[in-house]
C-alpha cells in the first residue's frame, strides 16, 4: 500500500496551530505557571485497564510511552516546583477515529491550592481564550454527572438498575451489547454516544461529581454517595479536558493501582509495573493541588472549525 507523503493539515492550518500554541504559552506565562519537560519513556505506566499503553524495547529494557505526563509532573510538584504546565506528545494504543489518534498532543497543568472547580474555571478561560467565535460563548455551565444523565438520557445513573440502564441505552441507540455488560459499561456507552455529545453547545460545559468508581486519580468527597473530585470539560459535544483535585494519599493511590491491575488480570490484559517513584513522591508529600489534561488537537480543531483532529495534524497515524 502506498502511503501519502503530504501532510493532512494545510500549510495555513499548520501556521494557525502554531499561533494558537503561542497563545496557550502566553496564557500560562501571564499566570506565572512554569513550563516543564519530562520524559516520554518510563519504566512504569498507568494500570487503568481502559488506558492502553504502548511500550518500546530499549537497551535498558522495556520502556512505556507516556499516556499522560501526570506521574513525573507530580514528582516535580512533590519536589517543590510550584505551578507547572507541559505540552507534550502522549500515546494511547488502538485509539483511532474522528476525535482520536494513537499519538496526540496533550496540555497538562497543575495549580497549587486550587480544587477541581476552581481549576475547571481556569480551564474554561483558556478554552475561551483559544476558541474565538463570532457569537460569544455563553457563561460556563456546571452540571453534575448525575444531572447530565438525567437531562440528556432520562435516567438516574446512580439509582437505576443495570437492566434499566441497558434498556434505556438500547431504546435510545437501537443497538447494544450482550447481557453480561456491567452498569458502568452501559453508562460509558450512553455517555459517549448520547450524553456527552449534547454538552458544550454554545458554551463550555463542565461535568462534576463523578461516581466513586470513576475517580481515577481524584480524591473522594464525602457524601451519600461519595463522589470523585473530578471534572470533564466539553465544547461542541467534544470532551476537551479531564481534571482532578489530586489524590495525595500514597496508600490510597497504591490500593487503586493494585485494584486496576486486578481488573487487568480479570480481563486477560497484561499487568503494568507500578510507578514506585510516584508513590514515594506522594509519601514524601504532594502539595494540595488540582491538575488537568487537555487534548490540544481537539481544542485546535474546534478553534479552526475542523470536523476531525486529522485536519489539524501534520501526519495523523495513517500517514505517520
Amino acid at each position: 500500500m502506498t502511503r501519502e507523503w503530504r501532510p493532512a493539515a494545510d500549510p495555513d492550518v499548520i501556521r494557525a496551530r502554531a499561533r494558537l500554541t503561542a497563545r496557550v504559552r502566553a496564557f500560562f506565562d501571564q499566570r506565572g505557571v512554569t513550563e516543564v519537560t519530562t520524559p516520554v519513556l518510563s519504566r512504569a505506566s498507568i494500570p487503568d485497564p481502559n488506558i492502553p499503553s504502548m511500550s518500546a524495547q530499549t537497551a535498558q529494557g522495556r520502556r512505556y510511552l507516556q499516556t499522560s505526563p501526570e506521574f513525573p509532573m507530580k514528582r516535580l510538584l512533590a519536589a517543590g516546583s510550584g505551578d507547572i504546565f507541559q505540552i507534550c506528545p502522549v500515546f494511547r494504543d488502538g485509539e483511532s477515529g474522528q476525535w482520536h489518534n494513537p499519538e496526540f498532543e496533550l496540555l497538562e497543568w497543575y495549580r497549587l491550592g486550587l480544587d477541581e472547580l476552581a481549576l475547571a474555571r481556569e480551564c474554561a478561560s483558556l478554552v475561551e481564550c483559544v476558541v474565538e467565535r463570532p457569537t460569544q460563548l455563553q457563561e460556563t455551565e456546571f452540571l453534575s454527572y448525575r444531572d447530565a444523565f438525567v437531562r440528556h438520557a432520562g435516567i438516574d445513573p446512580l439509582d437505576a438498575s443495570t437492566e434499566e440502564i441497558a434498556e434505556t441505552a438500547i431504546e435510545i441507540l437501537g443497538t447494544g451489547g450482550p447481557k453480561d455488560w456491567t452498569a458502568s459499561e452501559w453508562l460509558d456507552l450512553l455517555g459517549a454516544t448520547r450524553v456527552w455529545p449534547a454538552l458544550g453547545r454554545g458554551r463550555v460545559t463542565v461535568v462534576t461529581d463523578f461516581p466513586q468508581d470513576q475517580a481515577a486519580l481524584a480524591r473522594l468527597r464525602p457524601g451519600n454517595p461519595p463522589t470523585a473530585a473530578r471534572f470533564e470539560l466539553f465544547l461542541d459535544g467534544i470532551e476537551l479536558a479531564n481534571g482532578f483535585h489530586e489524590l495525595t494519599d500514597a496508600g490510597e493511590q497504591r490500593a487503586r493501582f493494585e485494584a486496576d491491575n486486578r481488573r487487568r488480570r480479570a480481563r486477560g490484559l497484561p499487568e503494568v509495573p507500578l510507578d514506585e517513584c510516584l508513590l514515594e513522591a506522594l509519601a514524601h508529600g504532594l502539595p494540595d493541588c488540582a491538575g488537568v489534561a487537555l487534548g490540544l488537537d481537539r481544542l485546535y480543531a474546534l478553534a479552526l472549525g475542523a470536523s476531525s483532529i486529522a485536519e489539524v495534524m501534520s501526519f495523523p497515524s495513517d500517514r505517520a
Partner: protein, 189 residues
C-alpha cells in the same frame, strides 16, 4: 478460523455475525474520557442486503467472513443457474436466482460482473456500471421531440424495462446504468 480485532475495523471489512456474512459500511470509534471504548458499526447483511447497527467493546474480536469479490465473465444460463467464469483460472461458478437478484435482467453473455463469493459460492452478483442494450418493445417514437423531457417505458433485450425519451424507436440500442436502472443515452449506429 481467522478473526479481526475491532482495531482493524474499517469499511469494506467482511465479518461473521450470528452465522451470516456482513460487510462493514461505517465504523465509528467512541470513548468516554476515562472509560470503556466502543466501536459502533453499520453492517450490511450480504445475504439479505439489510443494514443494521451493532456495538462492540473495543478490543473484542469478531470472526472473519470467507468472502471475496472478483470480476467474472457471464457465460450463460440453463434456466435455473447463471454461470460465471473467473478469467484467470477459467473456473466456472453457478449463481442461483437469489444471488442474481435483479442483475439477471441487465446482463448479456460475455458481460463482466462483480461476483461476491461466500465460502466459494456466489452470494451476490453486481451488474456492470454501464451496458449497451437493444430496445425490443416500446410505443412508436414521437418525431421532432428530442428535448421536451417526457418519457415512456421501453423493454430491453435482457428483460429489464427502463424509462426512455419519447423519440426512441424499437430496435435502437441505448446506454443504460443497470445499478440505478436508468437510461443514459442513445447509441448512434
Amino acid at each position: 478460523m481467522a478473526s479481526y480485532s475491532t482495531n482493524e475495523f474499517k469499511s469494506g471489512l467482511k465479518i461473521m455475525l450470528d452465522g451470516d456474512p456482513y460487510n462493514i459500511v461505517e465504523n465509528e470509534f467512541v470513548k468516554p474520557g476515562k472509560g470503556q471504548a466502543f466501536n459502533r458499526v453499520k453492517v450490511r447483511n450480504l445475504k439479505t442486503g439489510r443494514v443494521v447497527d451493532r456495538t462492540f467493546k473495543s478490543g473484542e474480536s469478531v470472526e472473519a467472513a470467507d468472502v471475496f469479490e472478483m470480476d467474472m465473465e457471464y457465460l450463460y444460463t440453463d434456466g435455473e443457474f447463471y454461470y460465471f467464469m473467473e478469467p484467470q483460472s477459467f473456473e466456472q461458478y453457478p449463481a442461483n436466482p437469489e444471488a442474481m437478484g435483479d442483475t439477471a435482467k441487465w446482463i448479456k453473455e460475455q458481460d463482466s460482473c462483480r461476483v461476491t463469493l461466500y465460502e466459494g459460492a456466489p452470494l451476490a452478483v453486481e451488474p456492470p456500471a454501464m451496458a449497451e442494450l437493444k430496445v425490443v418493445e416500446t410505443d412508436p417514437g414521437v418525431r421532432g421531440d428530442t428535448s421536451s423531457g417526457g418519457t415512456k417505458p421501453a423493454k430491453l433485450e435482457t428483460g429489464a424495462t427502463v424509462q426512455v425519451p419519447l423519440f426512441l424507436e424499437e430496435g435502437e440500442v441505448i446506454k443504460v446504468d443497470p445499478r440505478k436502472g436508468e437510461y443514459i443515452s442513445r447509441v448512434k449506429k
